[in-house]
Subunit: 239 residues, 2 copies
């Protein structure tokens, strides 16, 4: 028996923290369906006749991320280091989120989408982000300014927010939303932005100090100039 095949796409929920506020990257669709509607960046999975030209789901996610978020040209993939000093994808945390495939979620036919989420520090973002096949690309406050979204992208976004909020409590993912050298307050503000609620500075310092004790975080020379007392700098030790 022969089976009909659905289309498979990859969508990405890209998060960053700007001005102590959790933001998500949205693109305005140029084509039907949902033309002129905001949507998550994404696109079709590349499937080739020759298996060695196929891409993995994760590679597709990185490709979409590079195109939509960093504005890479199509032939300048993160795997091959291009000649231009491009924003570094190794500063990006990428994780598969969930697969959405309800019939009818795309009016064009049966489309299964494998959703990923990414955490990107503001530090590595390009000042402007030209989309490849889209009209506009912009950061939106997750808390305050999410517009109506195409397809079932509101569900995908909700699931991604839930995942990041939960995972930040037990995994070392907050470091992907902070500069490579960061202050205690900066890291705390990431938690505040993601969870959407205050985090007592003394209680956070206790947790922070424990991570320093455990070698997860190390002090680094220098200070961050702020309006008042200078803040000490730290870095995250991968592994």
């Amino acid at each position: 028996m022969k089976y009909l095949r659905p289309s498979v796409t990859v969508d990405i929920v890209v998060f960053t923290v700007i001005d102590n506020d959790l933001k998500v990257l949205l693109v305005e669709r140029g084509d039907e369906p949902f033309a002129q509607t905001w949507a998550l960046p994404g696109g079709y999975l590349n499937v080739s006749e020759k298996p060695d030209q196929d891409e993995t789901l994760e590679e597709a996610a990185y490709r979409e991320l590079a195109e939509e978020c960093f504005g890479f040209p199509d032939d300048q993939h993160p795997s091959g280091d291009g000649p231009i000093a491009a924003p570094r994808l190794d500063r990006v945390y990428l994780e598969q989120l969930y697969t959405f495939g309800t019939p009818g979620r795309d009016p064009r036919g049966r489309v299964i989408t494998v959703a990923y989420y990414a955490l990107v520090p503001e530090e590595v973002l390009p000042p402007i982000m030209p989309g490849s096949d889209t009209i506009a690309t912009r950061w939106f406050s997750v808390e305050h300014e999410i517009p109506p979204l195409a397809f079932d992208h509101a569900d995908i976004l909700a699931k991604a927010v839930e995942r990041v909020r939960g995972k930040m409590n037990y995994a070392s993912i907050a470091f992907n939303l902070v500069p490579s050298s960061f202050t205690k307050t900066e890291l705390r503000n990431v938690h505040v932005a993601v969870q959407g609620k205050a985090y007592d500075s003394r209680n956070f310092a206790r947790r922070f100090d424990r991570m320093v004790l455990d070698g997860v975080i190390s002090k680094v020379p220098g200070f961050r100039a702020t309006g008042g007392k200078r803040a000490e700098l730290f870095r995250f030790n991968r592994g």
Copy 2:
């Protein structure tokens, strides 16, 4: 531009606990590739020309579960209550696990599989489990007797075990591996079987009593006869 479409399948990691041992359901493949090799139950997602005949990913998972685990005939879906008193799928916990799509994972071509895992109490299992298009179906001890598996099913199984182990610590999923009336020791043995390590009876009792206090568990009349002192019975309050 037109895109090639991959095939989409749904695979299920079905767990149960028998004789205080975590078991997984495997089927012996009848067809190439990997004929005569053990594999996770699964099959192609039904995609129709008419959208109203399409099935969701979860429905496909339930369908495979019914066919491979309970031996339902194809036209006796859980949605429509068949005339025969069939094992109840409402006793089954089903959750999406992860989507696997590495090129080359299936030698026939590009196949994306959406993996689910299921927890089924031994109580509702049929004595024998005739597979529909497979030679043999059998429960294997996760700890002691996993044979070489087809495709990347060993990876899928490993991820499912990891998920269940982690989730059992904070979510109410152990109740899906125990009879509808259960004793304190039976529930503890489920934790022991899943985690693969001892759980002090007094420490578990403390946790158990808290759940009774919180109304998650209720005492129920009657006792379970064991070799020694009779054990009190409890039930889980959904919600």
